[in-house]
Assembly symmetry: C2
Homo-oligomer: 206 residues x 2
DNA sequence: ACTTTATTTAAACACTTGTTTAAAACATGC
DNA sequence: GCATGTTTTAAACAAGTGTTTAAATAAAGT
């Protein structure tokens, strides 16, 4: 497998891998250089500092993460379908990138980092009209009274946590990687049914 | 406020605070020394190394965390009540120690750390008889078919994640600390109802 | 060809890291 | 008093940190 991308991209790719896996303070510039096949000076030649490089990676990962999560809101599906798809998307994305949620949450709380991506996301969500859609569904008595924050909190909690706590749960129950990930697939079915029947009870409870 | 505990305890207390807040690789021995009012050499005088000190802290925090979570299992309450109390306990503990779940999960996956506490916990849980209690409840058609791992995964996901993702959620929605924590209290009610009506549906679905 | 610019390298820089040393201060028992 | 063992300190150590330097190489422009 030949890597024929530019030196800058090689460093960026390696940095993404290493930062996500070990966090900013858990790795060194030299480790990133080694991982990318370059040397230390090149890292700073292209990115000026470990810190600047990290900011670039972090913003990119954050955007990828948020977009994957919430792009479903701007479709024209029904609210119930949107939530069903959202759970599906979440599980799919995190299955491929299991360390990203923890990475973002950790680094975001490391110091009070200003991140334009995060605030922009809220705007995109409210611009998608999903909040009005929720209000209408509630007025019609189709959905339980709960705001969009609560809904996404329910979804992300039940989708992200099982992957984040993999190490803990695995050790507690003595499960192999394979078995644990299989288990999470059946857990997904439980989560989906639980959330949907809670949000859209029949008959409505409110 | 006078701190009249021994030097060893002062260091241990400071180490606990600093490690939980910043993680093993996010802090230095000198920071722990400063935080405890001692100097660097004393840290190693009492604990031989940063690593040994960390192991001591980590095991203690882990035990505190697991015990608080699962001691409820060995009571003689009904299964439904146990789960209700478990959620209550979780929220209470994490409200007081919001960084502990993330700390444990992060450090446990930093490298494949062997931790006797974690495996011992499983034994305690199965010794409590809660698993048989669950089986019986399922046979009687009182509870949905789901194993104890799935149940605790549901509970911990919905209790721990909202605190772990505080930084992210706060920034996304522009909420102050006070408002966010208030929000989590109403979220707790949702979570409790959601989990209980899912696990104990009426009529039973299985 | 030559000049200029961009890329890459090895080496060094100043500083921080975990850890150790050796001496000082303190306590306790006689 | 002195001797003994414990606790505390400042200073040092080697190794590792992020970063810079200055020279070497490659690329591009004319």
């Amino acid at each position: 497998m030949i890597n024929c991308s530019s030196s800058e991209d090689k460093i960026k790719d390696a940095a993404k891998r290493v930062f996500i896996l070990k966090g900013f303070s858990g790795c060194t510039s030299r480790e990133i250089a080694r991982e990318s096949g370059m040397n230390v000076a090149l890292v700073n030649y292209y990115f000026r500092s470990k810190d600047k490089l990290f900011q670039i990676i972090f913003q990119a990962v954050l955007e990828e993460f948020m977009l994957s999560m919430f792009s479903v809101f701007s479709s024209d599906a029904s609210l119930k379908d949107k939530i069903k798809i959202l759970i599906e998307r979440e599980y799919e994305f995190i299955s491929k990138n299991p360390e990203i949620p923890g990475f973002i949450i950790n680094e975001l709380s490391r110091e009070n980092k200003e991140s334009s991506e995060v605030v922009e996301m809220l705007n995109k969500i409210s611009a998608s009209g999903v909040m009005k859609q929720a209000e209408e569904a509630q007025k019609k008595g189709e959905m339980r009274k709960i705001d969009i924050i609560g809904i996404s909190l329910l979804v992300t909690s039940n989708c992200q946590y099982p992957f984040m706590a993999k190490s803990l749960l695995q050790k507690m129950n003595g499960l192999s990687d394979k078995v644990y990930l299989e288990y999470l697939e059946t857990h997904k079915k439980n989560v989906t049914e639980m959330i949907l029947t809670y949000l859209f009870p029949n008959p409505i409870i409110n």
